[in-house]
């Protein structure tokens, strides 16, 4: 078991049912409070890696330890207790379109509240108050009563961030959080993640496409290519040679 306050991934391998090798013996460590960028081409295993950490996808082999707890061996109930401390932000926001913005944010508290009462849409008052605070934090408190699909893409992703914050997370897994947004909105979302990382000391694992975002926000980066870890180090270390190794020989730098 690793020391507390650290995420440790050891020999993680994921083979999908069809035989696709998505992750191939990936090992790395993330100290508490770090902003780690995960880069690589589409299909290189970034999403699979992030989802293995909170076991939305069951790893085939390997071990993930977080805060001295073996995540891969956790029972369903233990897993729920682990997941509620890991916020997740998605590329396509994954909001429930027909639900109110506030309800979407409150979903972040489902791991904490009484399951029976939550089934009839009853949340404790302090949780509701907290949900409003999180919305205020992303500047959307006046949208609380609107339906989620009435919001623009950038606003939806801010709701996604508020939902993750609702969990009082110790770690946030952000799976291409800005890939569906334009550059201006992308920076605004990344700044929220940066603030959370700096002020709340939340560990952030964020998969990203654009290298300039990696340089601008990440403390450290890891790179995947066809499921293999091909780079681990500071963003500034990614020179042209490294770039070609990560993205392939034909790739050109765009940002």
């Amino acid at each position: 078991m690793g020391p507390p306050g650290m995420l440790k991934v050891e020999h993680l391998t994921k083979i999908y049912e069809g035989g696709t090798l998505a992750l191939d013996d990936v090992s790395f460590e993330v100290p508490d409070g770090q902003f780690l960028a995960v880069i690589g081409l589409s299909g290189s295993g970034k999403s699979t890696l992030l989802r293995c950490i909170n076991r939305l996808i069951e790893p085939t082999e390997g071990r993930i330890t977080w805060n001295a707890v073996d995540v891969t061996q956790a029972s369903q109930e233990e897993m729920r207790r682990i997941r509620r401390r890991i916020g997740m932000v998605f590329q396509h926001f994954n909001l429930v379109h027909r639900s109110k913005v506030l309800t979407n944010v409150l979903q972040g508290s489902l791991g904490y509240v009484n399951p029976a009462l939550s089934l009839i849409n009853r949340f404790p008052k302090d949780q509701v108050r907290k949900a409003y605070q999180q919305l205020a934090r992303v500047g959307l408190q006046e949208k609380a009563a609107q339906r989620a699909d009435e919001l623009s893409g950038g606003q939806q992703q801010r709701v996604g961030v508020a939902r993750a914050l609702m969990q009082d997370p110790e770690m946030i897994l952000a799976d291409e959080p800005v890939a569906s947004l334009d550059p201006v909105l992308a920076h605004s979302i990344m700044q929220y993640l940066e603030t959370i990382n700096n002020e709340d000391e939340v560990t952030v694992l964020c998969s990203l496409h654009f290298l300039d975002l990696v340089h601008r926000y990440a403390d450290r980066a890891i790179a995947l290519n066809e499921g293999k870890l091909v780079f681990e180090g500071a963003p500034s270390e990614i020179d042209d040679a490294k770039f070609k190794e990560i993205y392939g020989q034909e790739a050109e730098r765009v940002g």
Binding site: R83, R85, I86, F93, N114, D126, Q127
Partner: protein
């Protein structure tokens, strides 16, 4: 170079050597297919007994025309009728010097007889003028001596108010002049101008009726069509309530990931019958407790106030709104004990509620006059509640015990050596399979009246045990058993089987159970609705976006929370839409379910057709057409709005 180019060109553009052969084959195939088609049709004609002679037959045609005419004049309104006689004199036999009828007023309604005198039984031609257009009537001959009306013929007045008819007179010779009388029968009043008519019946009592008035057929049809619509309504709502939870079991995307360790599954299977048994026992105790209270309404109401209050307190204490740390084992068991007691209290409350509803309903019914049915409804709800409490308790207890067994399984997995579990789960699976098979055996045994313990206990136990053993050995290396997909396939199969039986057939069974009438019809339709809707719903669940499910799951939500927060919001509009669509189908279905004894308008329609009362049947059909068409329109409009 040029040469080679040529050949390649030729082979590419000119594939003639192959073409005719293929065409020939195709032609042969086509001719064979035609011959086959003709044979199929000929056989079809034979077995469906297509008979053109019947269509051409004179009697069939007149019958058809008669029925069509009756159907074209639905018996919507009843008219009182008035008979108006118009007389003309004639002589039989001809007196010496002939006979001259009185002068007639050409402007008034009158008839003329030609010739004015005939030999007994001679032919006469009667002409009428200035009658009401299109009236019908009877032509009679009235001999002078007595007041007899001898019927000669029926006549129909034309559009100008005239008629002409030639008939044979009756042989009643007399030296006095005789009378030919044309009696027209006309409806009194019209839809736009109804008339009050005073009637005196045989006993001399006088009553006033309106003419025209709504006919008996119309009022009967109205009663039955209301019955029909509500039959469909009850069937749809009942079916929906049951189909919604079942539909999740038939949704692949929700069930696919559910897999449990073998040990846990076997323990849960063992817990199922135990849970049902304990549940039935607990319901029995609760019934005994509640029966101590039901003698006095005051005690019932007191119980209904105090017990829920205590229950809320207990649940508040046992289920804190926010859990920071996992509770200790001691805390857990104390909580479980409190919850158990509170749950028994809950069952008592349900029994008390049922009894209160029966009391209140019976008390209300006679006091509500026209709304008596509300009282009876409350009372029936109480009865239904009373009947299903035991079932609910059994299911709930089975669920709780299965949950506990699952926890035990997980605890064993965490605390006992893995090798031991691997070996231990094999006999466990065998026992679970045996128990399950014995339960099925008892069910089959009661259906086929088998009493031999060998056949209902030992053989199934052996078979089930072997299957369990085989499964366990086969899954020896596997940690998890994909129970979700098994449930999915079983649910799908059952739904498809039920769906393929028409409600018209199902109702036959329900008629045996609950008697002829709309209740049997509602139950048959409800059962079919459950299967049909569960399938439609589950397909909707399968097509929802997976993203929100992932997101809710990632926040640490339980499976049920995930369904409530990520699945249900996505499926509400299609569910409503399908439910309305189903109501539409059920209305259509309920109009004919009466043919098989299921109540509603079909019952009346069938009766009217059998009694050859086609004008009343026409009213029924009209009502069906109106209701079905308007339901169709309404449901499609509402669905458009929702989706």
């Amino acid at each position: 170079m040029a040469n080679g180019n040529d050949t390649s060109q030729q082979s590419r553009l000119d594939p003639t050597p192959l073409e005719p052969k293929r065409g020939f084959k195709r032609t042969i195939f086509f001719i064979l297919a035609m011959v086959f088609g003709v044979i199929v049709y000929a056989y079809g004609f034979d077995v469906t007994r297509v008979n053109l002679d019947e269509i051409k037959s004179e009697t069939r045609q007149t019958q058809l025309v008669r029925v069509l005419r009756a159907l074209a004049r639905p018996d919507l309104l009843t008219y009182e009728r008035v008979s108006t006689p118009t007389n003309a004199a004639f002589a039989m036999p001809c007196p010496a010097g002939g006979f001259t009828a009185d002068e007639v007023d050409d402007d008034a309604r009158h008839i003329t007889v030609e010739p004015a005198c005939v030999e007994p039984g001679g032919k006469i031609t009667v002409r009428g003028h200035n009658f009401s257009a299109n009236a019908r009537g009877t032509l009679v001959q009235v001999p002078p001596a007595d007041d007899l009306e001898l019927r000669l013929a029926e006549f129909q007045v034309d559009g100008n108010g005239d008629f002409e008819i030639t008939v044979n007179s009756r042989e009643r010779d007399s030296d006095q002049p005789q009378t030919i009388r044309a009696i027209t029968r006309e409806n009194i009043g019209s839809i736009f101008n109804p008339v009050e008519v005073v009637l005196t019946d045989d006993s001399g009592s006088v009553s006033t009726v309106s003419s025209p008035r709504i006919s008996k057929s119309t009022t009967d049809t109205w009663d039955r069509i209301i019955e029909t619509v509500f039959l469909a309504f009850l069937a749809t709502t009942l079916g929906t309530v049951i189909a919604v939870p079942l539909s999740f079991m038939a949704a692949r995307n929700l069930m696919r990931d559910i897999s449990v360790p073998m040990t846990k599954l076997a323990l849960q299977l063992l817990a199922l019958p135990v849970g049902v048994g304990v549940g039935i026992l607990a319901a029995g105790w609760a019934r005994t407790i509640s029966e101590q209270l039901t003698d006095s309404t005051f005690l019932v109401i007191l119980g209904l106030v105090v017990i829920p209050f205590l229950m809320i307190l207990a649940f508040r204490w046992a289920l804190p709104p926010v859990e920071e740390e996992p509770p200790t084992p001691a805390e857990r068991s104390l909580r479980a004990a409190v919850m158990t007691i509170a749950s028994v209290g809950g069952i008592v409350v349900l029994f008390l509620l049922a009894s209160l509803m029966v009391t209140v309903g019976d008390w209300l019914a006679p006091r509500l006059a026209a709304f008596e049915f509300i009282g009876s409804f409350v009372a029936s709800l109480g009865d239904i509640l009373n009947a299903i409490i035991t079932l609910l308790t059994a299911l709930a207890t089975a669920g709780v015990l299965m949950n506990l067994a699952g926890k035990l399984g997980m605890w064993m997995k965490g605390h006992l050596p893995a090798g031991f579990i691997k070996v231990f789960r094999i006999p466990l699976a065998a026992v679970a399979g045996a128990v399950l098979a014995v339960l099925i055996g008892i069910g089959i045994g009661s259906l086929y009246q088998i009493t031999d313990p060998m056949k209902i206990y030992w053989v199934p136990a052996a078979v089930g045990g072997t299957i369990g053993l085989a499964l366990a050995i086969r899954a020896y290396q596997k940690e998890q058993v994909g129970i979700g997909l098994s449930i999915y396939y079983i649910a799908r199969t059952i739904f498809n089987a039920i769906r393929s039986i028409e409600p018209l057939v199902m109702v036959i069974v329900f008629v045996v159970w609950v008697g002829i009438g709309p209740f049997a019809g509602s139950l048959a339709l409800a059962l079919h609705t459950v299967a049909a809707l569960a399938k439609l719903y589950s397909e909707q669940v399968e097509s929802i976006l997976p993203g929100p499910i992932e997101a809710v799951k990632a926040s640490g939500a339980t499976r049920i929370q995930t369904i409530v927060y990520a699945v249900i919001p996505q499926i509400v509009p299609p569910y409503i839409s399908f439910t309305l669509y189903r109501w539409d189908i059920n209305v259509r279905m309920s109009t004919i379910i009466g043919f098989a004894g299921g109540g509603g308008i079909g019952f009346l329609l069938q009766q009217n057709i059998r009694l050859l009362n086609y004008r009343a049947a026409s009213v029924n059909m009209l009502a069906i057409a109106i209701v079905v068409a308007s339901m169709d329109y309404l449901s499609s409009r509402i669905r458009e709005r929702i989706v």
